[in-house]
Structure formats: C-alpha cells, structure tokens
C-alpha cells in the first residue's frame, strides 16, 4: 500500500455551494503530509470525507488501499483528532480513555496512561477543566493509543499558544518516529510545517492547487531578483508563480528553476515553504500538480 488516501474527482456540495470540488489526489503512506489552505478551502470537508463523517456528492475516495471511508475496517485503523479537539467536557480524562477503549478494539490503555503521565495530566481531572494545550494532548494520546495506521488531524494547533503548539508538534513527531504511522494534518498556519512535514497538499477554493514532496518543492522553486527588462530572458522554461514588479526591478517566484537562463544581473535565491505556499495562494490560477499519480484505479 503506497497511498493512504486516494481521491478522484471528489466533490462535496452543501446546498448549492461546493465545499470541495473535483479533487483528485493521492496521499502517500509513511509520510507526514500537510494539508494547507486558507479558511473555507475545503480542508475539513476533505478530512471528514476521509474518516466517513460525510459522504461525497461527486467522485470517489478510498482509504488504506481500497476501503470506503467509514467502514469498520477503516474506522479501526484510522485515528482522527477533529478540529478544536471535541472531547466530552464532563468526562474525566480516565473516563475519556475508558470511553475510547469501549469504542475501539485496539485501544492500548497503558500506552495512553504512560503518555499522559509523562506530561503530568491528572487522570481524574474533567476534560472541561483542562487547558487547550492539555486537551489537545489528551486527544492526541488517546488517538495514538489506538495504534492507527493513519492519523488524521484537523487544525490540531490552530487554537494553541506558541508553546503549547510546539509541545504538541513535538509529541506528534516523537510518536511518528516511534510508531512509523502515516500522518495527514491540516493547517492554515504554514510556518511550523516545514520542519515537520515531508509532503504538502495545498487546497484553495475547494480545489487542489499544489501537491508534492516538500524537498522537491523547495528544490524546484527559486526567487529571482533583477532588472525588469530582462525578466523574460532570464526565465527560460521556468514558470512564474508570483511576481512583484516595480519600475526597475522585478521579483519573481518561479517553479522549475533548473530551466532558467542565468544572467549576471539577476540574483537567484532559495526560498522557504511558507513563501512558496503563500505565493500559490495569492495567485490561485497558478498550480503545481503532478500528473494523475493514482496508484490504483478508484472503482466507481
């Protein structure tokens, strides 16, 4: 199994509005994949489709090879931490664990206890009395204790302060390193993802705009700065993603940077993931999509 989620022409409509449209992608296994996009881009819809909380209006989605989302086989093997980590506020941490152990066949309570003990979360405390960071840690701990093959997290750090955010991501990364699970996490904050993720999907206005390995994206994108007049000459076969021109100088963020024609008057700089993502989001008509890289035909 080389992809954990595959979609083809996937769409979801609420009333007349499409929350997600014509989305075809393959999320590779064994990776930490970031799903990035502005609010309202359809990230949550895509994740809910993947865990079977909602059904597609168009197209297909399969998970873990060829399973329909929401089937028992899929539910058992996929961990999900929903947006704002909705746990029952009136349950204690211990009862929350017991609840999950009652709902899940693979819950490893010792695993969850060890993890929570390590970060000093009292098991008798009601979830509603925990801080946002602690609550997220509880949600992560119970999700990991189910030993999922795929862990899906919807905006796990959006509401956390920087310290809690850092601690959460550290806990997640440790777990990934230990258990070797596939992770798909959505975020509208790109800054921390570069360090954490090795694959990126950018979703904008309900469509996929960028799909690729973080390494490849970093390698193929460059920022070019030089005189406006020579802009066309320097480009060669490279594609402009975003540009910023003044009267004299142009700054171009380009893809396929290996195809540029180096000119002495032009500076070529590496860029970071955040800059690349923001450039694409600013110019929705630009896109970086590989050909349909689906490993398996998605049956109708």
């Amino acid at each position: 199994m080389s992809s954990v989620i595959e979609t083809r022409g996937l769409g979801k409509r609420y009333g007349r509005a499409w929350a997600l449209r014509d989305c075809s992608l393959a999320i590779p296994a064994g990776r930490v994949v970031a799903l990035v996009g502005p609010n309202g881009a359809g990230k949550t819809t895509l994740l809910h489709l993947a865990v079977g909380l909602t059904e597609p209006s168009a197209g297909d989605i399969v998970v873990l090879g060829d399973i329909r989302p929401g089937r028992d086989k899929a539910l058992t093997r996929i961990g999900f931490v929903a947006q704002d980590t909705p746990l029952y506020p009136t349950l204690s941490v211990a009862d929350t664990m017991r609840l999950v152990s009652c709902l899940s066949a693979r819950f490893d309570e010792a695993h969850a206890r060890a993890r929570l003990a390590a970060i000093d979360i009292p098991l008798s405390r009601k979830v509603g009395h925990l801080s946002g960071g602690q609550r997220s840690q509880v949600a992560l701990a119970v999700a990991l204790a189910r030993h999922p093959e795929l862990l899906i997290l919807d905006e796990p750090v959006a509401r956390l302060d920087p310290l809690a955010r850092h601690e959460f991501m550290a806990a997640l990364m440790t777990a990934v390193a230990e258990d070797g699970i596939s992770v798909l996490l959505s975020s509208h904050v790109v800054s921390e993802l570069e360090r954490v993720c090795d694959h990126l999907v950018v979703l904008a206005e309900g469509r996929t705009q960028v799909i690729g390995d973080v390494e490849d994206l970093l390698a193929s994108h460059r920022v070019l700065t030089g005189p406006v007049g020579q802009a066309e000459a320097v480009l060669g076969g490279a594609v402009v993603v975003s540009e910023n021109r003044t009267e004299r100088q142009a700054t171009l963020l380009v893809r396929d940077a290996d195809r540029i024609t180096p000119l002495p008057s032009w500076q070529v700089q590496e860029t970071n993931l955040e800059e690349i993502v923001l450039s694409y989001l600013r110019f929705p008509q630009a896109s970086a999509l590989p050909g349909p890289a689906l490993n398996r035909a998605v049956s109708a």
Binding site: H48, V51, G52, L53, T54, E55, G70, R71, D72, L75, T76, I78, F80, A82, Q83, D84, P86, L87, Y88, L91, D95, R98, L99, V100, S101, C102, L103, S104, A105, R106, A139, R146
Partner: protein, 336 residues
C-alpha cells in the same frame, strides 16, 4: 457487533464494556433523574394508596354492594370527599410524564453530539454511528420499558378502589397511566426525540419539537382514534347496565322507526314536555316512552380494558420502531 467485555468490576458486579458502557456513562444522569421522578411519585402513591385503601374498607364502601345503591351513598360521600381530588388530579398530571423521556433522553441523544461537535470524536473511534445509535436506543428503551411498566403497576394498585367503583374504562385519565399504554408512549417519546434531534441537530429546539410532536400524535389518537378500536355496544337505556362503570360514548333518543332524533327535534319535544308539566329528567323519560321514543346508550364495557390497551400500545410500539428505523437510516445515509 456489540461485544460486551464482562470483567469483574466494583463490588464484584460485572463490569460493563463496549457501547453499553458508553450508553450508561452518557445517559446515566437523565435515567437517574427519571428514576427519581418515577420513584418519588411511587412513594407518594404508596403512602396515599395505603391510607386510601384503608379508608375504602373502613368506610364500608368495599362491602356495601352496588356503589350507586342507596346503602353506599354515605360511605361513597365520605370516601370521595377525602380522596377524589387526588384521584382526579394525579392521573391528569402523570399522563404527560412520558414526554420527559423524549425531552431529556431522546432529543439530546444525537442533537447534543452534533451541536457540541463531539460526534466527530464519538463516531470515529471504531464503532460506526449506526451501531452507536442502535445500541443506545435499544438499551435505553429496555430500561425505560422496565421502569415505566413498574410505575404503571404501582399506579394501577393505587387506583384499584376507583377502578372497582367506576370500572377501568371510565376512570378518566387513569387509563393513560394504567396497563401498557404508558410504557408504549414512553418508548415512543424516546425515538421521537431521537429522530427530531437527528433532524434538527440542536438540543433545545429538538426538545421543544418533541413536546409538540408528542402531543400532536397522542392527543388526536386518544380523542379520535381510541373510540374506533372497537364498536361500542348500543343498548336501550332501560336495560339494566351499570352506566357509571362503563365508558359511555353517546346517549340519544330514537323514534319508533329507529331514527335518531336531531337536536332541534329534541328541543321541540322538551318544550312540549315542559308545557305538559314535566319537570324532572325521570319524568321526561317516562313522557318520552309514552310517545314511543326510546333512549339509547352506546358504551364500552370495562372488560374491554385490555383489548383497548393492547391495540393502542401496539400502535405506539409500531410508531416507536418506525421512528427508530428512520433515525438509523438518516444517520447512515444523510451525513453531518
């Protein structure tokens, strides 16, 4: 599908696991609240009932023969003056008790999960939402049936003196709390609330809709459908039946040809009788008989109680199952 892990728990009791524990943990407060209400009313009925049953014997009402006979008049007056108010008010209030189940257990069952977002947690841990809702409705339903049947039994015992005075079909609104109709309406309220909560997706509006829908079904069913369960017996009023111990449906005069007199015809005859000097109801009956008009009565006898209860309860059981099925279908096919 609903494997229950049974391991010894506290006090050596079997430890609940799986969805049964989830159901218990999430609904124990509402179930306990309902148990307190049922229990509290039962304790009142027990104490009030002991005194009432005692008075029923002590006044001589249990041994004076026909309750409408002259020898029973004084015991009946004493007994009624003390216990009639309770006997009239309590059943009226209790008839609405099944709605509480719909409000506090049925309506929040799905609506609260959707409203607070916890459905995203509850339905992604391994058990799918169809199993989740099915187990919840079945288990809570069983608990409610047991509780409400026990309550109906206590109530029926409490009401025994009045049942023997008035018959089980005429006991006013006691019929609604005796027998099995009460339990059937309780489970009906449960699945009605569950479905409305699933459709409306917000707890408070779902609670309000549950009250409205329950009344909109139960009230017309009681008033318009119950009389259709079985054709009433029609007899001449001169037949010696104990009208006070049956459910009298109608009472009218007919002419020699067997045609029922219309209201204006009755008015004319009553006018005429007045002019002839008729003053009392008894004299009027005599006066009418002389003119070959006969009084007819239609009624449901008390021994039809269980037939009525069974038919009516079956109706609510069918509704309960339909609503449960609709809730499951909706959760499976329509998504959040």
């Amino acid at each position: 599908m609903t494997a229950t892990t049974v391991a010894p728990g506290r006090w050596g009791l079997p430890r609940l696991g799986g969805l049964p524990w989830v159901t218990w943990r999430q609904h124990r407060l509402a179930i306990a609240g309902l148990a307190v209400v049922f229990g509290g009313v039962s304790i009142f009925l027990l104490f009030n009932g002991l005194a009432m049953h005692h008075a029923y014997v002590k006044t001589g009402l249990s041994s004076c023969g026909n309750p409408n006979g002259a020898s029973c008049q004084i015991p009946l007056d004493i007994f009624s003056s003390k216990y009639e108010n309770w006997a009239q008010l309590t059943p009226r209030f209790l008839a609405f008790l099944p709605i509480a189940t719909g409000i506090f257990i049925g309506a929040p069952m799905v609506a609260r999960e959707i409203e607070t977002g916890t459905f995203r947690f509850a339905w992604t841990q391994g058990r799918n939402r169809v199993q989740w809702i099915t187990v919840k409705m079945v288990l809570v339903g069983i608990v409610l049936v047991v509780m409400s049947l026990a309550f109906s039994a206590v109530f029926t015992w409490w009401f025994t003196p009045w049942d023997s005075l008035m018959g089980r079909m005429t006991s006013g609104q006691a019929y609604e709390t005796e027998g099995i109709v009460f339990a059937a309406r309780t489970t009906f309220a449960l699945t009605l609330g569950a479905l409305l909560g699933t459709l409306i997706r917000r707890t408070l509006p779902a609670m309000a809709a549950t009250i409205a829908a329950w009344l909109a079904v139960v009230w017309p069913a009681t008033v318009y459908l119950r009389p259709l369960i079985m054709k009433p017996i029609v007899v001449s009023a001169s037949t010696q039946i104990d009208v006070s111990r049956t459910w009298t449906i109608d009472d009218w005069y007919q002419d020699r040809a067997g045609h029922r007199l219309k209201a204006y015809q009755m008015d004319q005859l009553v006018q005429q009788a007045r002019q002839d000097g008729v003053r009392s109801r008894k004299d009027l009956a005599h006066w009418m008989t002389q003119r070959h008009y006969t009084e007819r009565i239609s009624y449901q006898p008390g021994n039809r109680f269980w037939h009525f209860q069974t038919v009516e309860a079956s109706g609510y059981v069918v509704l309960t199952l339909l609503l449960a099925g609709a809730t499951i279908w909706w959760l499976q096919h329509r998504t959040v």
